[in-house]
Structure formats: C-alpha cells, structure tokens
Symmetry: C2
Subunit: 245 residues, 2 copies
C-alpha cells in the first residue's frame, strides 16, 4: 500500500514525519536510510554541478559571462558543503553516502556535455530549475530539521536568471537557434529522467520516501507522477523561454 | 631613478602612498593606472585559478580530494568577486582592466596543465604560495584602502594545506615520485616567471609601482629582486616538502 492508514503508526505518514524532528524521525531505520540516500544524492549532485558549470564556463564568449557561470558553480559548491556537513553531523561518512549516486550523475553529465555556450546556458538553467522543483517536492516529505536544510539550499538557488536573458537574446537575434536549443532541452530532460529512473530502481528506501511514506513496497506510479509534475514544469518553462519542446 | 628622494614629492615615495587613502593617492593618474592594472591582473588571476582548479579537481582519486580542490576553486572565485567589485567601485570596467592580463595568465595555465593528480596538487600549492608572496610584496606599496582589500584577500588564501599532506604521503610511499614532482615544481616557477616578465615588459605603470614608487623610468633590476625573493621562498618551500628543486 502507498500511504499508511492505520492510526497506530502515525510516524510513518508524510504528515507524521513532517511534524517530527530528526532525532525522532531517524529512529526508524528505513527513514534514516532514505534521508542518508537523499543527502548523498543531493550532495554529489551539487558537487558534480559545480564541476560541470566550471567546465562549461570555458565556453563563455566574454569574461562577464564566464564570471556569471563561475558564480553559479561556486554557489553549487557551497550547497555541497552544507549537505556534506549535515551527513557528517548525523554520523554518516559523506563519501559512502554519495558513492551510490556517482554513476547516475556522472552518466547524466557525460551524455549532456554542451557543445557550445548556448547549450551550456540552457543546461545551467534547466539543471537549476529541475533541481529546485525536486528540492521543493521532497521537502514536504521530510522531518523538520532535514526540511530546513533542504529549503535553505533551495533558497540559494536561482542564480540562472542571467542564462534566460542570454538565451532569449540569442533566439531574438537568430530565431532558428531556438529549434536547436529546444531539441537540446528535450534531450537534457530525457537524460535526467532516465538517470533518475535508474536511481529509483536501485534505491528502495529513498524511492519509498519519495512517494510519501515508508511503506511495504512502494508505488512506482507515484514516483512517475512526481516525475510528470517536474517534466510539466520544465515544458512550461521552456515554452516561456521560446523553446517549444 | 628608483625611489623619489626629493622631499617636495612625498606622495611619490612608498611611505607616502602607504599613508594615503585611495581618494588622495588616485589623484596621481600614474598611480591610479598602476592600481587598475594590479586589480585587473589579480582579478583575472583569481578567475583563471578558479577555472583551472575546478578542472584539475577532476583528477582527484577520491570524492574527498575532489571536494578539497573544489573548495580552493570556490575561494578563488570569491577573491575574484571582491577584486572585480572594487574595480567597479572605483569606476573602472572590470573586463577592460582584466583584458591585458588574459594572454599571460592563460598562457601560464596552458603550459602547465597537470598530467595527474599529484601534479595538480603541487600546482595548487605552488600557485597559492606564489600568489600569497606576491600579494604580501605588493601590499606595502599600496594606499590604505587598496592595501586593506589586498590583505583581506590574502587572509583568505592558504587553503592548500591539504595538498602538502597529500604530496608528502605520496613521496613517502614512493620516493622516486619526488624527483618527478621537483622537476614539475621547477617548471611551474619557470613558467610563472616568464609570463610575469612579459607582463612587466608590457605594463609600465604597474611595473613602476611594483619597484616602490612612481618614477620616471623604472628599474628592471628592482623587479628582478622582487622575483628573486619570491623564487627563493618557493625553493625553500619545495625543499621543505621534500622536493629539492
């Protein structure tokens, strides 16, 4: 079943967890494992994002543009630090928690290395937006302490605004650029989804938490609905950017 | 002549400048030009260092090591931000101030791309140390406001301590690694000096300030002595690290 309905296990419903602090919530080993997975995945995600943004900054046509992407990279690094420090704080070895997610995230970045500056910008913007959506989705399912951390990191995202201006200007200047970038944005989303499915299939505790509770066998359909919501938000953003996906 | 000796121009001696604030000191257009050059060179130096450290972080054998180098990179980015913001504050266009130094700094990094993690570590440490020495040398020749900025940035360097531990451990484990890294450190210093000489030859106002005062024709020998001091400090550090240069 998907949600706990019996009143004798209120701590297992999403509402129950949200009302608890970490000390109480983490007494459930499955919840604890899920949060360790989540923090590990987010931490490595931020570290990998740092690395790729710094790499993509090389494609910048001007020093000003380079500095903007470098600023995003540096922000991602600070997110990484907070997530890693939290893992240490709860007695987990950060590297051990990140390891299970290295292959999926590296795979994503390997498959989506931008071939020019505009692709790099679209990737920075799409990555930032999907990450925000995911942080927001997951925050509601967390205990108060972990939620506060996730929301604090989320609060510091959104450095990709400059990317929107640049992409818009490029499409205005040469409309057929839009078609190419629309395909690129679609590929980014497709690759993100396929790597996420891989993680979902591998990490039971994390996936179960993502569907809204620690349950005896989680519902893949609910994970699918979460991915759908994120994909829809992505599609709307791309359309607003002039990239009909 | 090298130092102003006439008492009617005290603002032109190093002591005179050091006792002044930016508003007073910058009334001298040659001093102003020198500081704009200096801030431009340092700003681009930090931005390039960010980029290369982030790149070299890829060579890290573990996630922990990667995070350490990424941390240095992120610190360099914040130095860049302070220097760039200062240029804006004094009414200069940062890109214009940085442009004259792009070729030399890119040249340095192109000639010294590490071929493995240990070379990357030695480069991070050597770069950090030379930068500190240079910041310290130059601080004494600056007006109070500019000096405060340079010292604040200097204060936040020294993130390369972990590199020393790692390099030492690698040499202990396999002593002949030391010979290869000693050659590498020598090449780094040689390349740094040759690019610096290029800058000195191109940028009169900056060079003149570096020798201790705004003078009518600067003394290359004094610049040479400054480079010698930095080289000696480098040699001592390398010896302490087990890398007899």
């Amino acid at each position: 079943m998907r949600f706990m309905t019996t009143s004798d296990k209120p701590e297992n419903t999403a509402t129950g967890i949200a009302a608890q602090d970490w000390a109480t919530a983490s007494a459930d080993p499955q919840y604890r494992a899920a949060v360790v997975d989540l923090l590990g995945a987010l931490a490595y995600g931020e570290l990998a994002a740092f690395e790729r943004l710094a790499e993509d900054a090389k494609l910048a046509p001007t020093l000003e543009d380079k500095a903007e992407l470098a600023k995003m990279a540096s922000a991602e690094f600070h997110h990484f630090e907070r997530l890693r420090d939290r893992l240490t704080e709860i007695g987990e070895e950060p590297t051990g928690a990140m390891d299970p997610f290295v292959a999926a995230l590296d795979g994503f970045h390997r498959q989506t290395a931008p071939s020019d500056w505009l692709e790099g910008l679209v990737k920075a913007y799409v990555g930032d937006s999907i990450a925000s959506d995911f942080y927001r989705e997951v925050a509601a399912r967390l205990d108060g302490d972990t939620r506060a951390l996730v929301l604090a990191v989320l609060d510091d995202t959104g450095h990709a605004g400059f990317a929107v201006d640049r992409v818009r200007a490029a499409i205005d200047a040469e409309p057929r650029v839009g078609g190419r970038l629309a395909l690129w944005a679609r590929r980014l989303m497709g690759e993100a989804l396929s790597q996420s499915q891989r993680v979902v299939a591998d990490r039971d505790a994390l996936s179960t938490m993502l569907v809204g509770g620690v349950a005896d066998g989680f519902d893949l359909a609910e994970v699918g609905r979460m991915f759908s919501r994120i994909t829809e938000a992505h599609t709307k953003r791309m359309a607003a950017l002039g990239l009909a996906a």
